[in-house]
Symmetry: C2
Subunit: 328 residues, 2 copies
């Protein structure tokens, strides 16, 4: 971060299933202007990549006042899925764009736009954004989770996404929290995301509501019971809803604890829809972590909510360009 | 490693509860000559540190032929316990030397001997040795375990011990493998070392032998049942002994799997007495890991036994001096 001059900027692209968001971001993580177009995923990977390139050309032609194209040091792209971090090709797709799999996005962008390009998955991008300019500022090691449909994860060391030996580090939602637990589509049993994603919280709350009749949740239809409505009920003091959140926090502490033991991060950053539960979720995680984790100083790891909100995708994508410059 | 000239050497010291071993080690991890003296721990930390310094002076005065003192680039010290990796002071001791706790070994050695000194715990030192010149050569990310009385762990990234934010990374024996499992002295429940250390294997085998009478183990006294004798019985085809090892492998795969998911190491190196079980232990770990771990390429992580044997302590300690030179 200190290596980036404040007069340098990068383009960040947040590729989603329905929309492509892009922006011009400073080295300090300030989003100066944002553009948004529909993804039109049904038109296929070739179309989507061409659309993203056209959007970059448009941005470069209408940069915010005072910024010259020479000040744009690169492009970063974040998207659901698992990417080959060297070629920027989608290896295993969570984003439903036919034909995107295997497309070497990085070299296509570099050839078309003449700017160094880096591609990474959205959870890594989220943690990078928060570690560089959000809740994890100044942390030498930051670990983050996005609690949504599943649980994404990422590890940032020294201001860079840590990829491990082959690019697959940080898939923290699939850490085992019950050795013979619920079957997960990934092939494992007992993954953390099966117990503590927003979807898992809602599923467990529906089961709990069926057999308890003294809860706000008991009066709801299954469709009305979501992670959000569980949080609302808990905020009103509903004991069943509080139990559901406490259970998720218990399992999160098992998985987070194992990662804290391995990596000794300075901060754990929690984002995604599940993070809207806020202190109702974070405080029991902290309580359990104090037991799960051995050394006093490691126990004092911060557990905090994300700060950058929906802009994290663009800011973190641009962060890839700053963090990964000069590296392969 | 490439930064070290082949004409450079370091002193490695392996401080144990009963003996101090030291040696002259090349940048490539070759141990040229070894010295050994008793620790005499009962004489206290001050005596032990003075003894180590005297041993270094002796080694420097009788270097192997062809090596000049100018070619010694530093000193590395490995020992049980948790060290402050900046000061080299023991923070939490596993080694029973009265008065060693808090002694800033690094600055004492540097002042007395005028050589850069690095101190780390024995599990980190073991993994560093194996990653630099043993079973993990060429691995960009290596994770190792010592399966003994407990389970030590270490993470080596880019040829250096990874310490995390505050120096406590890699305590991998305390990853949770049963969320409400056996109580561990560390304060957690269900730590991997409670299920899969050599001691845990022996304890479980004794329990199993009590209620089964068709096993080699059933005919042994409790004292005769050790991790080693379980391995010997299993090698003779004893079904109960094989079950005991399979169970340890199951739990190791839960803990190792969580670390593989987080760090995507290229290799998992297993040492300590438990590693003498060899393929009887490693093969079921590999089998379970293929299920525990999501992506095909991560599943292909190597699970291998340590190669350097009892010399790893000296070689890895010297490796600290090579790996950590120029860093604080």
């Amino acid at each position: 971060m200190t290596a980036s001059s404040s007069s340098e900027y990068a383009l960040g692209i947040d590729l989603g299933g329905t929309g492509i968001k892009a922006g011009v971001v400073s080295a300090h993580g300030t989003l100066l202007r944002e553009w948004k177009v529909p993804t039109e995923a049904e038109k296929g990977g070739g179309y989507v990549v061409a659309r993203m390139i056209a959007l970059c050309r448009q941005i470069l032609s209408e940069l915010p006042e005072g910024i010259q194209s020479e000040q744009i040091i690169g492009i970063g792209i974040g998207s659901p899925g698992v990417f080959d971090f060297k070629t920027g090709a989608l290896v295993a797709g969570a984003v439903n764009i036919p034909g995107l799999n295997g497309t070497p996005m990085r070299s296509i962008f570099e050839a078309e736009l003449g700017l160094p390009t880096r591609v990474d998955n959205d959870a890594n991008v989220f943690v990078l954004a928060e570690a560089r300019s959000g809740a994890g500022r100044d942390a030498s090691v930051a670990v983050g989770y996005t609690i949504g449909t599943g649980i994404g994860g990422g590890v940032v060391i020294g201001g860079k996404v840590f990829h491990g030996a082959w690019g697959f580090a940080g898939e923290l939602g699939h850490v085992t929290v019950e050795p013979e637990g619920i079957y997960c589509p990934c092939g494992n049993h007992g993954c953390m995301e099966s117990y503590a994603s927003a979807n898992a919280i809602a599923t467990y709350a529906r089961q709990a509501a069926e057999i308890h009749d003294n809860s706000i949740l008991s009066g709801m239809s299954p469709d009305e019971i979501t992670c959000k409505s569980v949080g609302e009920a808990a905020a009103q003091g509903d004991a069943l809803a509080r139990h559901v959140i406490e259970r998720a926090a218990f399992y999160l502490s098992v998985g987070i604890g194992s990662t804290v033991i391995a990596l000794n991060p300075a901060v754990i950053i929690i984002g995604g829809g599940g993070a809207l539960l806020g202190e109702m979720l974070f405080e029991p995680i902290r309580k359990h972590l104090r037991r799960r984790v051995y050394h006093q100083r490691v126990q004092s790891v911060d557990v905090v909510g994300a700060q950058l909100g929906v802009d994290a995708g663009i800011i973190g994508a641009a962060g890839l360009a700053f963090a990964e410059r000069n590296s392969n």
